[in-house]
């Protein structure tokens, strides 16, 4: 049992983020953004459905990115990121309905709300380590879910409705900022693209700042960082709150786009799916989880037509875990570094698997 706790404390991936800071990495990021920006009008003209899916892919990419910042770098597995996602979403829904639809006001507030919720959950949870930390975040996130589902604030405050209970808040309009109306999906796409790109740059910078280095140090050897005079608990809570801010931002983008904020956003299944996206994409690489998020949304959408899409999706997870534990990012890196040995490597992985099963 001890080994589990240790494993969770020091996840094995060794993220640096440096490959993204290299010339080639920057070029790849820039090219992806330009391609997405150019592809959007084409998709909009031919099949608007694709554009809709792209927006959701990017929003979940942002959510996965926020979790990778705290999980991949600081080694803190949050099983409750849905709480921050949903909190940001509910905040946006209430602000848009009652105050303003200005994205420049609502989105920062969604971030603050996400950070505050994460700060609360983090402050309680960092007392425990490893898997116990994960279970605590799960428990607190589910509390937020139950509170939203039963509309507890309305009962306590004597209001008619606050979170809208299990129906949630619906009819949320999209953003309108200084005369620019984001009701059209194409404009909302650009708003999302810009937000996600900026968040990506910010988190990449943050990961490679002295602050990010301390977080990595905590993942590798918490005791040593403590002896060096850093307040480990405070760094963890701060890192968690920062991660929560971006999760809240993702919620703030998601809810107006879907025009509804419901308790399902806070449910642990979202947190679970998010962890799947991270591992599928490649933990601690920042770009891998974004790819993983996109892929999961894409598969769910494409396979929904088949009656048995869950079997296929689950099967893909299982195969990836067994044969490609570094995720998509690991597979891509290995193919790029060593294109000639792809077949040999694949054969070896299969032989390895058969040997272990026969053991």
């Amino acid at each position: 049992m001890k080994s589990v706790v240790e494993f969770f404390d020091r996840s094995q991936a060794s993220p640096t983020g440096n490959e993204l800071l290299s010339g080639q990495g920057r070029l790849a990021v820039l090219v992806s953004i330009v391609v997405l920006a150019l592809f959007a009008p084409i998709a909009n003209a031919y099949e608007p459905f694709w554009l809709n899916m792209l927006v959701r892919m990017m929003i979940f990419a942002l959510l996965a990115l926020s979790l990778d910042f705290i999980f991949g770098y600081a080694g803190l597995l949050s099983f409750g990121h849905a709480a921050m996602f949903g909190a940001g979403g509910y905040a946006a829904a209430m602000l848009i309905t009652d105050v303003t639809a200005n994205a420049l006001i609502v989105l920062p507030i969604a971030m603050v709300v996400g950070a505050v919720v994460a700060g609360i959950i983090g402050w309680f949870s960092v007392r425990a380590h490893g898997i116990y930390f994960a279970m605590l975040t799960l428990a607190f996130a589910q509390m937020f879910y139950v509170i939203a589902f039963t509309d507890l604030p309305a009962t306590v405050l004597g209001l008619e409705s606050f979170t809208g209970g299990d129906n949630g808040l619906f009819g949320i309009q999209r953003y309108e900022t200084f005369g620019v109306d984001f009701t059209s999906t194409l404009l909302y796409f650009y708003l999302t693209l810009a937000t996600v790109a900026l968040s990506f740059v910010a988190l990449l910078r943050l990961s490679n700042s002295p602050f990010g280095r301390v977080l990595q140090g905590i993942r590798e050897n918490e005791e040593r960082i403590q002896f060096l005079g850093y307040n480990v608990q405070r760094y963890k809570v701060l890192g968690f709150a920062l991660s929560g801010a971006f999760a809240g931002l993702a919620g703030g983008l998601y809810v107006p786009f879907q025009s509804v904020s419901h308790p399902g956003l806070l449910h642990w299944m979202i947190s679970g799916e998010l962890v799947v996206m991270l591992l599928l994409g490649g933990l601690g690489t920042l770009w891998g989880p974004m790819l993983g998020a996109g892929l999961v949304i894409f598969l769910e959408e494409q396979l929904a037509g088949f009656a048995s899409w869950e079997i296929i999706l689950g099967g893909i997870f299982v195969v990836v875990v067994i044969f490609a534990p570094q995720g998509l990012a690991g597979a891509i890196t290995s193919v790029r570094n060593d294109p000639k040995n792809v077949v040999t490597n694949a054969k070896r992985a299969i032989r390895n698997y058969v040997d272990k099963v026969r053991k």
Partner: protein, 289 residues
Amino acid sequence: MVESVLRATLLGLQLGMTLALIAAGLTLIFGMLDVINFAHGALYMLGAYFGTVIAGQFGSFWLALLLAPLMVGLVGAAIEILSLRPLYDRNPLYHILLTFGIAIMIQGAIIQIWGAQSRQIPIPDLLSGTVAVGPVNYPVYWLFVLGVSTVLIGIVWLAIERSDLGILMQASAHDTEMVSALGIDVSKVFTGVFVFGAILAGIAGVLLGGSRSVHPGMGFGIIIEAFIIVVIGGLGSFRGAVYAALLIGLVTAYGALIAPTLTELFLFIMMAIVLMAKPSGLFGATEAA
């Protein structure tokens, strides 16, 4: 007042003992294999569905109670040998992801084969109707479920604490290398533990399938409850899982009397308090980290 409290107590004990069947498997698998089995709820659900099929085909609840758990055990063996065995030396994170994927697959397969509508396992005439327990008229079937689960938990407890096999299991969990060096095939012990946990979950599935509805969402519905129990009792502790399951069962039943909507919230608060006060759970070893 007395009547509703007595009724709630009986219901809470029954719920607690069935939950203990599920949580016991979960905690044994964690304690021995170091695997957090997200697919455990899916195995429980599979037990219920196999139960509906067998009871429907042969018209016998008793046959379902006997065969369905064994079939779940076979599925468990396939899962352990084909997917978990190659991953034991890896970060436990991958076990979570793997079993999460398997749970999704099983849920998809169930929807594909049996559809999304809910069903129920028909219970035999012998167990239908109610019986007077003091001032309360209580369903016979629920008493039967309480009795069977209690006896099973007792047998499992004895088996783990007293039998040679139980001691071998404990030793394998404690020091895999040493047991392996003594000439015992540890990987068979691991498979055995996983299959055993799956069978217990399957039994719980058939038992609850007779009183609750059987539907494709029941697997993910129960897994969080089982996790709360295992965490409160202490990860890996069998005794802890049983006590915590009784506690949760009673809290749920009494909670339904006082504030039904807040019961779930209260369970999570309990789990958070226990984790913060003693992260290793009420009966767990002291925290390693």
